[in-house]
């Protein structure tokens, strides 16, 4: 009995983590489940009425869903890249350098997070119109980068704080130019923070509704499409695509990691080539 108790205590954290992961995945599990649900009219209902693979077979039948999802993924990918770059640079400046205007910069970074989306959306719209910029993908891109930068800065900054500079100093002592140090030492150590920030930016962009609604013109993103069709019934293909998106994202990472492990194994087996003297 005490053996079991001890096992429980030692593995409490992992058990908890398992439960927490389940909690976070619960909606997507339900979404996935209902993508197999048989419905009378092809629209999502909220009751289980039988198993069918129909919607998976016809996953791409609804062109408007596909187009909306494609637009959202493109937009999110593009906005994530730009926002992550801009935000990381800003974080580096704020943590590692003393300069005038730090207070203002901090304000400029926090305010977008505090502003209600409808106000950002509407003010941006007015501004775009005044400057005669056509509403569409470009304005969406601008808006998405804008609201993601703040989040990227805060996440990367938290990684940068307390960063052990001694490794970088050692590299400098060994004669490495600053850019090389940055490239080969700082960036890899910073990478998990940047990846975390990019994930967050991607999630923000692909989920944005209010700001996109105001600034999209007639372009349709996935959230806009969903809010639209929820009026008269969401096609089950939406659940199929959502589940697919999740599975693909996780499998992709799994493949990348597996491939990394393979590379590591190969490197361990193959003898090192002697550098030419």
């Amino acid at each position: 009995m005490s053996g079991a108790w001890r096992w429980l205590r030692r593995n409490a954290l992992l058990l908890y983590a398992g439960v927490a992961v389940l909690y976070m995945l619960l909606p997507i599990i339900v979404v996935g489940l209902f993508s197999f649900d048989e419905t009378s009219n092809g629209k999502l209902d909220y009751r289980w009425s039988g198993f069918t693979l129909d919607y998976w077979r016809n996953a791409f039948a609804d062109e408007s869903v596909n187009e909306a999802m494609r637009t959202s993924i493109e937009l999110a990918a593009l906005a994530t890249v730009v926002a992550t770059i801009l935000g990381t640079l800003m974080a580096l400046a704020l943590v590692r350098h003393k300069f005038r205007g730090r207070g203002i910069s901090n304000l400029l970074i926090i305010l977008p997070m505090a502003t209600p989306e409808i106000v950002i959306g509407a003010s941006l719209l007015s501004m775009f119109l005044i400057y005669g910029i056509t509403l569409g993908f470009t304005t969406l891109f601008i808006a998405h980068v804008m609201f993601s930068i703040s989040f990227v800065v805060v996440v990367v900054r938290s990684r940068l704080i307390g960063f052990d500079r001694s490794i970088e100093e050692a590299a400098a002592d060994l004669g490495a130019p600053p850019l090389t140090t940055f490239r080969t030492i700082t960036m890899p150590l910073l990478a998990p923070g940047i990846v975390a920030a990019a994930l967050l930016a991607f999630a923000l962009s692909i989920d944005d509704f209010v700001i996109s609604n105001f600034n999209s013109g007639t372009t349709e993103t996935f959230p806009l499409y969903i809010f639209g069709v929820s009026l008269r019934g969401i096609p089950v293909q939406v659940n199929v695509l959502a589940t697919m998106l999740f599975v693909v994202a996780v499998v992709c990472i799994g493949l990348v990691l597996w491939q990394q492990r393979q590379a590591e194994r190969m490197a361990a087996v193959r003898p090192e080539a002697e550098p030419a003297l």
Binding site: T39, S40, N41, K43, D45, Y46, R47, S49, S64, R100, G101, R102, G103, I104, G121, A122, L125, S126, L129, I130, Y131, L135, N213, F214, G217, T218, E220, L224, F227, G228, V229, S230, L231, R232, G233
Partner: protein
Amino acid sequence: MRHYDKRARGRSALVALLVLIAALAIAACGSDDGVGGGNSDSETEVAKAGPAKGEITISNWPAYMDTGKDNTVNEYEDKRGVKVDYVEDVNDNAEFFGKLRPQLEQGQSGGRSIFVVTDWMAKQMYDLGYLQELPHDDLQTVFDNILPSLESPSFDPERKFSVPWQSGMTGMMVNEKLAPDVKSVNDLFDPKYKGKVTFLSEMRDSVPLVMKANGVDVDNATKQDWLDAIDKLRDAAESGQIRRFTGNDYNQDMTNENVVAAIGWSGDTSIIENEDVKWRMPAEGCILWSDNMVIPKGAPNTAAALDWMNFVYEPKVQADIANYVQYVTPVAGVDEVLPKLADNELIFPDDEFTKNCSTQPDPPGSKEDQQEVTEAFQDMITGQS
């Protein structure tokens, strides 16, 4: 250790000022004085007709168009050689207005030639000068086939700026097993259904129905009648009688039986996957409304837009739409094309069925009065005193 010393703080303030001035300078380059007020002083344009060609963009509500390869949009493209960009981006009248207003203010329509909004929104847009007038001479098919009851609605008696797309009825969605005796809107206030009842957040649906249940004639209601009805709703909301004010999301609540009776729209029965749930005509009558096609100022290719309106008013074309949409079709003669649906009183309601119904009213009085009623209703919904 102080992070900022006095000089640094002063410098920060200076930088802030400079940034502000820069922003002001940029903003001043294109300032927007006197926002609103509309273009009512500028000329009312009449949409120009002509041979239909080129391309048009139409904004409509979701699920208001039949689907499939030979849907009406494709049919139109084939028959008339006009390319149609059909966009379903009208989800809510107020939201659509909110995002289009800045453009309409400047006489632009965002590329749209037609969009579809409910009666009251069409009127508001017209009053603000955002819409073009429609030439009846170029809309022969429309006015030959329009249902007599829709020829002269109170919000647009001469049909100057609107042509109905589809009509509908607001009444009650009732779970016949769990709330069989709900026959009037007053039954929604019955304590035995506490917390299992919802009303619509659309003021012009919920409030008139409550007024009707109180015996008020909504076409001649006073501002006080509206405010009294809003008070009744507020009391019910605060006591927990009314669970929520919903948009269309009452559908999920009714399917899951979280809610046993709700104010709802007649065309929504197909979305609710619960055989016990039916749309019921309240004893005191329903609210009739239409979603209308309008042509905004700045619309490109009005010729094709007018042609489109004529096209969808041909009974055979309309039949495909009506069959899919399952709301009330505004075109006469469709019941002959669809004999199977002719008995469905939710799609082809006869006068007997709708004898107590009223068209969706606006709050009475001046714009200030209307604003007061709107504010009272919104305050009630957001729980403000």
